[in-house]
Amino acid sequence: MKRKISFEDKAVTALSYIFMLMLAAVIVIPVLNLMAKAVSSSTAVTSGKVTVFPIGFQLDTLKSVIVSEKFTSAAGNSVFVTLIGTLIALFVNALTAYPLSKKNLSCMKAIMMIFVFTMLFSGGLIPTYLLIKNLGLYNKRWALILPTAINVYNMLIIKNYYESIPDSIEESVKIDGAGNFMIFIKFMLPLSKPVLATICLFTMVAYWNDYFSALMYIDKPALKTLQLYMSEVILEAQQDVDTATLDDLMNISGESVRCATIIAATVPIVIIYPFLQKYFIKGIMIGSVKG
């Protein structure tokens, strides 16, 4: 016999729906506000009338942002860093995790500690900056790729996954005389597809969103990444409120340019994100808790 649904139960359910829908609204509205501002006329934007619906719809600001050379060059740099960086980082982390997953080999635990220690302690900002300069990587895109290529946290997630693969599979291959590197390429990598897909996505997002490395190691305009370029647009707009009147004359307000830049950089993420969502969630389940 099922208990009658009480008032309390209904109230809890109703409150949950109300609260969660409100939260979703609070998250969506600021984004919609920026979208609306990006496609509204600049007079409407500067007057502060635009809420979540565009006023005086126009796409000129957005177009001018996207075709501007600074934006395309920055986007190109970000794509380069993200693609090459992800390839290198994924390979290195997957490769390093493989020998480290062989716990009974001597010295592996000690080597493991060498890796783990870097999660605890870092030399810090300035020593790293001086190193990049000394290596001649300053103002090179490699400075945005290599220092973060080995990510111990991601590497540990991959290592844990390898450990869950039964040894018997490897041993049967070993009898056929395959070397460890071939086993890694031909068996471990394909068998670890789920975890590698997740780490691949984590790494891509990290490279794409990385702003601080570019701020530290890049000042050549042609090498700026999208995040760095965007931060300059945003911080500039924050400072020169005085020039707003001048911009008004040119019919493009600083604010609508800023909004258009943010939206132009956000929309690609918003579009691909739902497709990637399930991998991310799987990944956080794999990585969050180590028994």
Binding site: P30, G48, L95, M119, F121, L125, P127, L131, Y211
Partner: protein
């Protein structure tokens, strides 16, 4: 005596085992080289470079040529009032973040669990996870836009008859803005761990509770929350471990000189002094102190979580 012999033979055994392991699996050890090389160059060399914290570093002379000054930079640090200000800001902002933003993902997970309409639930989940994937540059841009004097929030305030508030310039508001934007960006994503933990709770417990006549609230208090407790402890300890280094990009994107008083934290200060004023040695000293405190916190946190809930990061 017997003990010593045993120890000795054990030592021979381990070196012997290493040689044997290495001969059999030398290619496995070789696979470590790329990872180790990157690690040593980009993580361990800067640890050696931190010695400039004890020097009066001159970029033309390098580490080997610069003059050693012992603890001078640290003495200067402890005598500077600015340091206490940023140290306090770092702690206060991090602790506020833990107090206010830590419980929200737990609440979200519990409420999502009460939503039985799959379609609605899915839409809500998709929306609330999204901000996690936006960079702090974008989130900073969004918040400076909606909080500007002619922005969305001030529009609402003025429609309600209030006076517009220069949020981003206000020391009264800046910390709240940091915490709110932190919640905005991370609360949905933070809930995933708890959603997974709730999924792992035995459903029979709820059925039994229902037969005993327990309502939803009591089920949440006596089944869901206890089921989440070990995850909560683990997440809390992890958070505590990172209080000194958290929030750098966020603050860099959102602050300006008018709110240094309440918003400047150690990591942004290190950046400003080091890169802006080129005071490499002093900046490294601040950074080193911060790294040491973090080391103790992270290590201690991991140790604690291992002891308390039997889970740890490594």
């Amino acid at each position: 005596m017997a003990h010593i012999v045993e120890k000795k033979s054990k030592k021979i055994k381990t070196t012997g085992k290493f040689i044997k392991d290495f001969k059999l699996n030398y290619d496995l050890y070789l696979l470590l080289i790329p990872g180790l090389a990157l690690l040593i160059i980009f993580k361990y060399v800067p640890m050696y470079g931190v010695s400039i914290a004890f020097q009066d570093f001159n970029i033309f002379k390098g580490i080997s040529g610069s003059e050693w000054v012992g603890m001078d930079n640290f003495i200067r640090l402890f005598h500077s009032e600015e340091f206490y200000k940023i140290f306090r800001n770092t702690l206060v902002i991090s602790i506020y973040k833990i107090v206010f933003s830590f419980p929200i993902p737990i609440l979200i997970a519990i409420m999502l669990n009460e939503m039985k309409k799959i379609a609605v639930k899915r839409v809500v989940q998709t929306v609330i996870y999204l901000p996690h994937f936006l960079s702090w540059v974008i989130v900073g841009g969004i918040f400076t836009t909606i909080l500007s004097t002619n922005g969305l929030i001030n529009g609402i305030i003025m429609d309600l008859g209030g006076e517009s508030i220069p949020f981003m310039m206000s020391n009264r508001w800046f910390r709240s803005i940091l915490i709110i934007s932190d919640i905005w960006k991370g609360c949905g994503w933070g809930a995933i761990v708890y959603i997974a933990a709730i999924a792992g709770i035995d459903q029979e417990l709820y059925e039994a509770a229902e037969i005993d006549g327990a309502g939803k609230i009591r089920q949440i208090l006596h089944i869901t929350l206890p089921g989440l407790s070990s995850t909560i402890v683990l997440m809390l300890i992890l958070k505590l471990g990172y209080i000194m280094v958290e929030g750098q990009e966020q603050v860099l994107m959102m602050y300006n000189p008018t709110v240094y008083e309440t918003g400047d934290i150690i990591t942004t200060y290190v950046y400003r002094i080091g890169m802006g004023k080129m005071d490499y040695s002093f900046s490294s000293a601040v950074g080193l102190l911060n790294s040491v405190i973090s080391l103790v916190l992270v290590w201690g946190g991991n140790f604690l979580s291992g002891k308390l809930v039997g889970k740890s990061i490594w």
